[in-house]
């Protein structure tokens, strides 16, 4: 049997992969890992977001140092410019 699942976040994906790997000895194989949804937002409907936003917003990058760094201020300025605020 083959199973195709859609996982909304990388962090959740990593956890599921870890679980599936525990069944390696039973013959479970991860055949293919496709980042098909990464840029396909058609599934992210308003209803889907309402129900799944908690998982969808979870990130895992380390931005602790970024917040209040010089780069942060530069990016904020850029963001302001892009939004036509300055």
């Amino acid at each position: 049997m083959q199973l195709i699942i859609d996982i909304p976040s990388t962090s959740l994906g990593d956890k599921i992969i870890q679980i599936l790997n525990a069944f390696k000895n039973d013959g479970v194989k991860i055949k293919k890992q496709v980042e098909s949804q990464k840029n396909d937002e058609s599934l992210l409907t308003k209803e889907y977001i309402k129900e799944n936003w908690r998982e969808l917003v979870m990130t895992s990058g380390d931005s602790s140092d970024y917040y209040k760094s010089d780069q942060y201020y530069e990016d904020r300025a850029k963001d302001y410019e892009e939004r036509g605020k300055i």
Binding site: K38, L44, V57, T59, S60, G61, S63, Y67, K68
Partner: protein
Amino acid sequence: MNYLLDVNIILDYFNDRRREQFKTSIEAFNYCYEKNENIFLSSSSFDNIAFLKIKELKEEKGYSTKKSKELVAEIINFLIDKFKIAKTPSYMEIDYEDIEDSQIIASAKAINAKVITRDKGMLKKYSNIAITPQDFLENRENKNNIDFANLKKQYFMYQPELEEEMDKVLNNSSYIMGSAVKELEENLETFTGAKNAITCSSGTDALLLAMMALDIEPDDEVITTPFTFIATAETIAFLGAKPIFVDIDEKTYNIDPSKIEEKITSKTKVIMPVSLYGQASDMEAIEAIAKKHNLKVIVDGAQSFGSSFNGVSDSNLGDISTTSFFPAKPLGCFGDGGAVFTNSDELAQKIKSLRVHGQSKRYHHKYIGMGGRMDTLQCAIVDVKLKHYKKDLALRQEVASKYSEALKDKELVLPFLDERATSAFAQYSVRVKDRDAVQARLKEQGIPTAVHYPMPLHLQECFAYLGYKKGDFPISEAVSEEIMSLPMNPYVSDDEIEYISNVIKG
């Protein structure tokens, strides 16, 4: 204690790596989330939270800006739903090294809060205000700390609406007789069913205005209860009239109508029942007596706004009814305030004139009056609270009902509710034999109590000239020695009621 969450704590909650790395942040966040009160975010934080999270979602997950914004909107909605927003006040001290920190600290100061943060700079610079999640978790208040009237909680519940309405008054500078005065009076009329509601400077002045409108003069007699707050009889005496006391009913603690007629003389002008603790007196009997003897009835409803007798609002009973918006009253403002209610347009017109120095038109004075207006700011505040008052009143009644259930087997005399009446439960007062000991025990366990009132008015020094003595009103005297009010407000929890009940049991 109020607490304000810094941006880094919020971001920790929505990031898997940071959840692992900063576990105390998550524990603190979860505690705040579950506690769901007195936890704030600075209004200045939302834009940063949104910017940082949108950037992360775009870079890490590849979402478009539009989709990232939609997702972040969910985060913001979640935060607003779970926590309160603290304004960034104009009196912030700007730190040019970190303006955002200045804003957050200023927000915390505005609500007397500590900031929960991992920001080392903030922790160092504002060590008297900023605390780590670890400090928060170690010092959070676990002990029972019961509030008697819980005005703080009510303020923070309605804070956004209150701030908005107060800002309107401050911005247009109509501090006296501004539009909020008329709006409140109209809303009070709708709420009570009384034809005229006239706001005034206090519950005490409401009584004065009511008696002045009825031309109470020196040597007139006004029949009332000795078991009440001083204002009831003080205002009678202030006008030179004589308070004539009648003992109370042992169950309701209100004036006993069966003892009124024996006190009526040719000088009697008014019967003034007090709706003590929130419940009207036996108005059927009192109004019948008043009608028979051609007397007027002024209801002192300082404690009973929103209650009813035979389905009629307490504010719509008698010839004139009054109430108080003193902060601890069921419907309170942020200072002094009150209202007079009457169905007589003639009396209403006179009261309106009396509260502005008896003025008929500017600088033309028909009567000797007083400066008795309720200011616009206080009216705006009461008007906000009035919108929520039915709910608050129902909660008070629910708390009273739960108290009565929890305390029914104790050796106490519980409040008695006349089947014709509903009570606003300004107080939940019980009679207890060894009051001092019980009060001391409750105080020791963090439970505040009060005595309303420890000495009946006929025994007060200021009324010595009336010639009353101990023993004249035995029921009032007995009740004053045993009565004790328990914490009463719409927010007394089931756990608190159980705790209080157990401590009373001893």
